[in-house]
């Protein structure tokens, strides 16, 4: 989540302009959103904090909430499944998000030219992003069947002998999920990049070409910097998409085989909605939240520190 800490706006001579109509305008502008976020996110979040100190099973209603102090937190830090899920989540998000962005960029560059049927191509690549997870799950289950699936048949055609077991193997299940995540997100990333590429400074290309800059240099010095905000945008949306989109795990592996695909959001879901330990689920969520928050703050500090020294 380092991406989310892009330093606050250039903030020039801020103090002078903090009063007056501009300040009031600022609050008015954020008001609709702030009220909504407060009501539907901040307040529920506070109740999560309260729940984390309780033992509660939902079915017993509000009257059934029982305060048990820090018990849940003690269990969380000692829970091997929790730490295992943290590791798997880092692998899953850490691989699927950057790979989706990178391949999306490659695809967008390939498509950013006068190809017959460009619009249709774009739509085709984007389609995986919009299909319901239920259908995606069922389909990939068939395609990735270790013995009869198209994927392994293709790999066998390439001459591979030791074919992956995909969802029937605790080593391959997570990579399989990562591949499907990339398949789903790639077209989305490419489409966003494509719209950003429309915006690339054409005149600079021409100048650079005249100067004899090769394609790689032109990409590095002109295209890439102009794509940076888009990249941040994609990293954030995809990261949040993966952390929330545990639907694939739920539909394809239920966290297995063993606990090889039990990523954090799924573990939390399992604890809450399968075991009905809502207090414990809240504690897991809170510990995760605080952990990521501290990490983010530390990075922000570091970034600020560097900015000051520059």
């Amino acid at each position: 989540m380092a991406v989310s800490v892009a330093p606050a706006a250039p903030a020039p001579s801020a103090p002078a302009s903090q009063a007056g109509p501009r300040a009031r305008a600022g609050w008015l502008f954020i008001l609709p959103n702030l009220v909504g976020v407060t009501l539907f996110t901040f307040v529920p979040l506070l109740s999560v904090v309260v729940l984390a100190f309780t033992d509660w099973n939902l079915v017993s209603g509000l009257g059934g909430i029982e305060f048990i102090g820090v018990d849940n937190f003690v269990h969380v830090v000692q829970d091997p499944t929790f730490w295992g899920s943290v590791g798997r989540t880092i692998i899953y998000a850490g691989l699927s998000v950057p790979l989706t962005v990178a391949s999306g960029l490659a695809l967008s560059l390939a498509l950013d030219r006068d190809i017959p049927g460009r619009g249709a191509l774009r739509a085709m690549f984007f389609m995986p992003y919009i299909v319901s997870t239920v259908a995606v799950g069922m389909t990939w289950l068939m395609l990735m069947n270790p013995s009869a699936g198209v994927v392994n048949q293709f790999l066998a055609m390439l001459g591979l002998a030791d074919l992956p077991g995909w969802f029937a193997s605790s080593y391959w299940a997570l990579p399989a999920l990562i591949i499907i995540a990339i398949w789903s997100g790639l077209g989305y990333a490419a489409v966003i990049y494509l719209s950003a590429l429309q915006d690339a400074p054409t005149d600079l290309y021409e100048a650079a070409e005249v100067d004899g800059a090769g394609p790689w240099r032109r990409f590095r010095t002109i295209t890439w910097p102009s794509l940076l905000p888009t990249t941040v945008f994609l990293l954030v949306t995809l990261f949040i998409g993966t952390s929330q989109g545990f639907g694939l795990v739920a539909l394809l592996t239920s966290g297995g085989p063993g606990d090889s695909t039990t990523v954090l959001p799924y573990y939390m879901y399992q604890t809450g909605f399968q075991f009905y330990r809502f207090g414990y689920a809240a504690a897991i969520g809170l510990v995760t939240f605080v952990g990521v928050l501290l990490l983010t703050l530390a990075m922000w500090r570091a970034q600020r520190g560097r900015a000051l020294h520059d």
Partner: protein, 298 residues
């Protein structure tokens, strides 16, 4: 699937947009040289869709035969008839999904753009503190908030209404964050100039910055639409009457009592439910480009 990831710098922006005559012939050849692999890749990408379509057209048990049966035998349309007109018709759920997604998109794009603009371009006391709170909540997994929202909407009397899906989706931290990210990158000089000309803050936002933001707003719109369209967990917990089902709930109900999914019905319903999203995408995709050419920032 991943080969695009590792292909080294496949496409530096080699084709110039200019039309220099000596190059034209080579460009035409290049066009086709590029087109063929791209179309092949796209077809490979669509393979799963071919499977979905084929499954929707065959008997349920045939969906799971090994090896895979790609061509339905016999061809059957009843799954489509069933999901459109049968007992568990997805049509009402379809309408609900459209309403929820449309209201969410409008609300989200409007409030997030305004707030994102203020966080990026306006200075006011407490701004950074509020924004920090926003940032912090943007990393919360949605499942964490499901139960508190359930209790909350139950107390407000909004449980089991579409409002329970719409309201949290209209005011999001993420959208605000994305819009802010965009406005931070826009030059402040315009605003300063406009202020000197006596424009008020609303005019500056509405006339100057908003038009620049339309591509990003479209992107946020597409995103919000897709998220809303495919959201399964939220309605699962917050909706109970079948009349208020959204598509994912309706889709998931094509299972038998053992939890086995009825493949042909699910696939037929999925195929039908892709169509509107595709339309939204195709419409907004055009707007990306148009918006860009109109704004003059290109």
């Amino acid at each position: 699937m991943t080969d695009t990831a590792v292909r080294p710098r496949p496409a530096a922006p080699a084709v110039p947009r200019t039309r220099r005559t000596p190059r034209q012939r080579r460009a035409t050849r290049n066009r086709w040289l590029w087109a063929v692999p791209m179309w092949l890749l796209a077809l490979a990408f669509l393979l799963p869709f071919a499977w979905m379509l084929s499954t929707s057209l065959k008997a349920n048990a045939d969906a799971f035969t090994v090896p895979m049966q790609w061509i339905p035998d016999p061809w059957r349309w009843d799954a489509f008839v069933e999901v459109l007109t049968g007992e568990g018709s997805i049509v009402p759920a379809f309408a609900n999904s459209v309403v929820v997604a449309a209201v969410r998109v409008l609300g989200e794009v409007l409030t997030a753009t305004m707030a994102g603009y203020a966080f990026a371009r306006l200075h006011f006391r407490g701004r950074d503190k509020v924004f920090l709170a926003y940032l912090a909540t943007s990393i919360i997994p949605a499942q964490l908030l499901l139960v508190p929202r359930f209790i909350y909407f139950q107390q407000l009397g909004l449980y089991d209404t579409l409002w329970a899906l719409i309201l949290p989706g209209m005011f999001t931290v993420l959208g605000t964050f994305l819009m802010r990210q965009f406005f931070v990158g826009q030059p402040a000089a315009f605003a300063e100039a406009a202020r000197i000309d006596g424009a008020n803050e609303w005019q500056i936002f509405w006339r100057l910055y908003l038009p620049m933001a339309t591509p990003v707003m479209s992107a946020l719109g597409i995103l919000t639409f897709v998220w809303s369209w495919n959201d399964y967990e939220t309605p699962l917990v917050l909706i109970s009457s079948p009349e208020a089902y959204t598509l994912p709930l309706s889709l998931a109900s094509f299972t038998d009592e053992q939890g086995a999914i009825s493949a042909n019905l699910t696939m037929a319903a999925s195929v039908v439910s892709i169509i509107p999203v595709l339309i939204v995408f195709l419409v907004l995709q055009k707007r990306f480009v148009r918006a860009l050419t109109h704004t003059g920032i290109k």
